[in-house]
C-alpha cells in the first residue's frame, strides 16, 4: 500500500508542478515572441486589441501567404466594416480552429471570417495532419479536454501518443522555449517588452518587400525555368521545389483534412451571424498545369448557408512573376493589390441582400 500511495504522490506532485506553471497559463506570458507559439500568442493579442478599436470587423486567418496589407488606422474600412488579420506564418487550418476559439469564444465578435485555400482543388502533396509543430504552436490554446479531439487528428499511433504526452506534460512541449529563456532571460524580457509595445503597429503597417520575380519564365513540358539573373541558387531551388511538385499519390488526404478542420470552423459558426468566406489565394508567380482533381472539400463546405465562396478567378491577374518574391509569397505591390481586391470582393458580397 505504501508503494501505491507513494507512486500516486509522485504522479500528483508532477501534475501539480506542470499544471501550476504550464496549464495555468502562467508561462504563456513568457513565450518567446519570435517562436511559432509566440507568433500565435502575438497575433491573438493584436487581434483582441484591434477588436477594441474597430467595429463590424471582418477577420482573416491564414499562414504567411495570407498577405493582407492592413493599416492600424481605419484605412481598411469599407462600407462600415473594418478588416483585421490573425494570420500567422506556418499555421494551418487545424491551428485556425483553435485560434478562432480563443479570440472569439462566444462566436459573436466578427461579421465574417476569411478562410483561405492555397488552391480550391484538393491536391495531396504535403500532409498537414502529421505536423507536430501544430502542437507546439497552439499548446497555449489547448486544455486537457482538447486531448481526445486534437490528438486523434494525427494519423499514426506514434504521433497521437506524442501529442497526448505533449499535452499532459505541457512542460515538455515548452522545453526548448524554456531553455532559451534560461540561457538569456534578459534578452527574452527585452523581446517581450518590444513586442508588447510595437508588434501591433509593425504588423499592421508592414510595408512588404520590393523584390520580384520579374523575368521568370517556364517551359512546363520540359520542366525548365528561365530565372532572372539576380536570383540566388537557393531561391531558384525553392521555386523549382514548389512549382515542379507533383507525382504524389492522390489518396484524398487533403480532402479529409479540409473537411475536418474547415468543417469544424463551419460547425462552430453554424447558426450565428458570422459569415464564413472561402477564397483561393494567388497560386503563384506562374500557375502549374492544373491536375485533373476536384474541389471536393470546398463543394461540401459551400453548401452551408452561412458560407460565401469567392470566384477562383478573383486573383488571376496577380498570378504573375512581377507580384511575387518567391514561389508562394507576394511582394509589396502584389500584396497591396491582393488586399484591395479581397476587401472589395468581400464587401461587395457582404453588401448583397
Amino acid at each position: 500500500m505504501r508503494l501505491v500511495s507513494t507512486l500516486l504522490c509522485v504522479a500528483g506532485m508532477i501534475a501539480l508542478l506542470d499544471g501550476s506553471i504550464f496549464h495555468s497559463g502562467l508561462y504563456d506570458r513568457l513565450i518567446d515572441p519570435s517562436s511559432a507559439a509566440g507568433a500565435i500568442q502575438n497575433a491573438l493579442s493584436n487581434g483582441r486589441y484591434r477588436s477594441t478599436l474597430v467595429k463590424n470587423q471582418v477577420l482573416a486567418v491564414g499562414d504567411s501567404r495570407m498577405d493582407f496589407r492592413l493599416k492600424t488606422t481605419d484605412q481598411n474600412q469599407r462600407g462600415g466594416r473594418s478588416f483585421g488579420t490573425i494570420a500567422v506564418p506556418g499555421s494551418t487550418p487545424r491551428c485556425w480552429f483553435y485560434m478562432l476559439r480563443a479570440i472569439d469564444p462566444d462566436r459573436n465578435q466578427f461579421t465574417a471570417i476569411l478562410l483561405p485555400f492555397d488552391d480550391y482543388i484538393d491536391e495531396d502533396w504535403e500532409d498537414h495532419s502529421t505536423r507536430l509543430i501544430d502542437l507546439a504552436m497552439i499548446a497555449p490554446l489547448l486544455t486537457l479536454r482538447d486531448i481526445p479531439e486534437f490528438c486523434s487528428s494525427y494519423p499514426t499511433a506514434e504521433l497521437k501518443a506524442r501529442c497526448v504526452a505533449g499535452l499532459l506534460a505541457k512542460g515538455w512541449t515548452y522545453q526548448q522555449d524554456l531553455q532559451r529563456l534560461l540561457r538569456d532571460y534578459k534578452l527574452r524580457q527585452r523581446s517581450l517588452d518590444w513586442t508588447r509595445t510595437n508588434s501591433y503597429a509593425t504588423l499592421y503597417n508592414f510595408p512588404g518587400t520590393e523584390q520580384s520575380l520579374e523575368g521568370l519564365t517556364v517551359d512546363w513540358q520540359k520542366r525548365e525555368f528561365g530565372f532572372p539573373p539576380q536570383l540566388s541558387d537557393a531561391r531558384r531551388r525553392g521555386i523549382e521545389d514548389v512549382l515542379l511538385r507533383g507525382g504524389a499519390p492522390q489518396l484524398g488526404t487533403l480532402t479529409r483534412y479540409r473537411l475536418q478542420w474547415y468543417g469544424k470552423i463551419a460547425a462552430r459558426y453554424a447558426g450565428t451571424k458570422t459569415k464564413l468566406i472561402y477564397f483561393q489565394l494567388p497560386r503563384g508567380p506562374l500557375v502549374r498545369p492544373t491536375p485533373n482533381l476536384e474541389a471536393t472539400a470546398l463543394r461540401t463546405l459551400s453548401r452551408d448557408k452561412n458560407s460565401i465562396t469567392l470566384s477562383p478567378d478573383l486573383f488571376e491577374h496577380l498570378e504573375r512573376p512581377k507580384f511575387f518574391i518567391d514561389a508562394m509569397h507576394l511582394n509589396r505591390l502584389g500584396s497591396e493589390r491582393f488586399t484591395d481586391a479581397l476587401v472589395s470582393a468581400v464587401s461587395e458580397r457582404l453588401d448583397r441582400p
Partner: protein, 462 residues
C-alpha cells in the same frame, strides 16, 4: 535501443509484465530471450558472436573443473582467456593498429579491416567472462552447469552494453534462489531510474553540447575560459552520463530481483586519486585490481614492482577504453599519479576537516586534466586544449549560467548525500519527501532535457 528511448520503455514494460505472469522456473529463460532480443536490436551479427563466446566460456569453465592438474587447468584458463582477449583485440584494436601502421609506413591496409565493426558492449562482457573463468580457476566460483543461467549472466540486458561488470557470485546469489524485489527495492528502483534519467538527460546531454562543441575545434573558441569551461563540461558530462547509465542499469536489474553493486560513489568528492579510483567505475577498478594488479604481484614484491604494477594496470585500464594513444597516455597519467601518491603517503598525513576540501579540489583538478586526454580525438588536440588553459586570451564561458547553477546544486546534493546518505533517507522516508524528490527529478527531465536530439551514452563506444 537507448535506455532513454520510448522503445526501451515499451520493451521493459513488456518484459516485466510477462516476467511476473509466468512461472518462476521459466523466468531466467524469458530474461535470456529478452536480453538476446535487446542485443540483436543493435545488430544481429553481434548476437551470434556473443552466443559463440558464451558457449566457449561455458564449456571451458566446465572442462577446467574436470582437470585435476593445476598446470593443465592453468593452461586451459590461458586458452579460454586468450580466446576472449583475441576476439576483443581483433575487433577493437586491429583496425586502428592497421590504420596507424599504414599512416607510419605506407603499408596497405587489408580490405577486411575497414569492414570491422565494434560490437556494442564487447569490452564489458569480455571482462565479465574473464572474471568468471578466473574465479572458477581459483575455486572462488563453482562452474555453472545450467547453460541458460550462464548465458543470462553474460547477456543480461540491464548491464550488457555498458556495465557494471558484475561478478558471477553477485549474480548467481540473486538467481538461485530467486527472490522478488521487496517494496523497498521497487521504491529504490524508481528513485535510481529517475535519478539516472536526470543525470543523463538533464546534466550529461546539456553539458555534452558545450563539451562536444569545444573539443570539435578548440581554436574556434580560443582562450582560458573556453578551455576551462569546455574541459569542465566534459568532466561533468562523463560523470553524469556514466553514473546515470549505471543508476538506470542497477535500478532496472532490481526490478527483476537482481542486486547489482554500486558503480559510482560521488567520485569527485575524493581527496586523492587513490580514493578516486575506489569511487569511480568501481566495477572496472575492482576488476583491474583483482585480475591484473594482484596477479602481477600487487604490492607484495617491493616498491619498484609496486609502481610498475600500478603503471601497467592503469595503462591496461586506459587501453581498455579504446585503441588511441590518448587512452594509453590517460591510463599512464593516472598510473603515475597513483604511484606518486603511494610514494608520498609515507610523508603526507591523511586529510583532516580543513585540508580535505583543498585536497578534494586538487584531486578534481588533476582528474579533469586527465579527462582532456581522454576526450581529445588525438594527442595533438589534447596538447592544444592544455595549451589553451595557459593562454593569455580570456575566451568565453561555454557552459550557460543555468547549467552552472545545476552543477553547483549537484555538488551540494552530493556533499549532503556523502554526509547524510540522502538516497536512503529519501527511499525509506516519508511518502511526501520521496514523492517530492522523484517529482523534481522527472520534472527537470521534462523541462531541461534535449529530447529533440538523440545523444547516446558516452560509454557505449567502449
Amino acid at each position: 535501443m537507448l535506455f532513454n528511448s520510448p522503445e526501451f520503455v515499451l520493451f521493459l514494460v513488456s518484459v516485466l509484465v510477462v516476467f511476473y505472469a509466468i512461472p518462476k522456473r521459466a523466468r531466467p529463460l524469458l530474461l535470456l530471450a529478452a536480453s538476446y532480443f535487446f542485443y540483436a536490436y543493435w545488430n544481429v551479427k553481434f548476437l551470434i558472436l556473443l552466443i559463440a563466446i558464451t558457449l566457449a566460456d561455458f564449456g571451458g569453465a566446465l572442462a577446467m573443473t574436470k582437470l585435476s592438474s593445476t598446470a593443465a587447468r592453468r593452461g586451459f584458463l590461458t586458452v579460454c582467456v586468450g580466446l576472449n582477449l583475441a576476439v576483443l583485440v581483433a575487433l577493437k584494436y586491429l583496425a586502428p593498429a592497421y590504420k596507424g601502421l599504414h599512416a607510419l609506413t605506407g603499408l596497405p591496409e587489408p580490405g577486411f579491416v575497414s569492414d570491422i565493426v565494434l560490437p556494442i558492449g564487447i569490452s564489458f562482457h569480455t571482462f565479465q567472462s574473464i572474471s568468471y573463468l578466473v574465479d572458477v580457476y581459483r575455486g572462488a566460483q563453482p562452474a555453472i552447469r545450467n547453460l541458460p543461467h550462464y548465458a543470462l549472466y553474460i547477456a543480461f540486458f540491464p548491464q550488457l552494453v555498458a556495465g557494471p561488470i558484475v561478478r558471477a557470485g553477485e549474480f548467481f546469489r540473486d538467481l538461485n534462489p530467486w527472490k522478488g524485489p521487496s517494496q523497498r527495492d521497487v521504491l529504490r528502483t524508481v528513485f535510481l531510474i529517475s535519478l539516472g534519467f536526470f543525470k543523463k538527460m538533464v546534466m550529461a546531454d546539456n553539458l555534452g553540447l558545450a563539451a562536444d562543441s569545444y573539443f570539435a575545434d578548440p581554436l574556434l573558441h580560443p582562450g582560458v575560459r573556453s578551455a576551462l569551461s569546455g574541459s569542465l563540461a566534459f568532466s561533468f558530462q562523463i560523470y553524469f552520463d556514466f553514473s546515470g547509465y549505471s543508476d538506470i542499469a542497477i535500478g532496472t536489474a532490481l526490478l527483476f530481483g537482481f542486486h547489482f553493486p554500486e558503480n559510482f560513489r560521488r567520485p569527485y568528492l575524493s581527496a586523492s586519486v587513490t580514493e578516486f579510483w575506489r569511487r569511480w567505475h568501481m566495477s572496472l577498478s575492482s576488476w583491474l585490481r583483482d585480475y591484473v594488479y594482484i596477479p602481477l604481484g600487487g604490492n607484495r614484491n617491493g616498491a619498484v614492482a609496486l609502481y610498475r604494477n600500478l603503471l601497467l594496470t592503469m595503462m591496461i585500464g586506459g587501453i581498455w577504453h579504446g585503441a588511441n594513444w590518448t587512452f594509453a597516455v590517460w591510463g599512464l597519467y593516472h598510473g603515475v599519479l597513483l604511484a606518486l601518491e603511494r610514494f608520498g603517503s609515507r610523508f603526507v598525513p591523511a586529510p583532516g576537516p580543513v585540508t580535505r576540501p583543498i585536497r578534494v579540489a586538487g584531486t578534481f583538478a588533476l582528474v579533469s586534466l586527465g579527462w582532456i586526454l581522454f576526450r581529445a580525438a588525438d594527442m595533438r588536440l589534447a596538447g592544444t586544449v592544455l595549451g589553451q588553459l595557459f593562454s593569455t586570451e580570456k575566451g568565453l564561458w561555454l557552459i550557460p549560467t543555468w547549467q552552472r547553477m545545476l552543477i553547483l546544486l549537484s555538488v551540494m546534493l552530493s556533499v549532503a548525500d556523502e554526509r547524510f546518505n540522502l538516497e536512503k533517507r529519501i527511499v525509506e522516508g516519508h511518502s511526501l519527501l520521496y514523492g517530492f524528490a522523484i517529482a523534481m527529478l522527472l520534472f527537470a527531465v521534462e523541462l531541461l532535457s534535449q529530447t529533440d536530439k538523440t545523444l547516446p551514452f558516452v560509454y557505449f563506444q567502449f
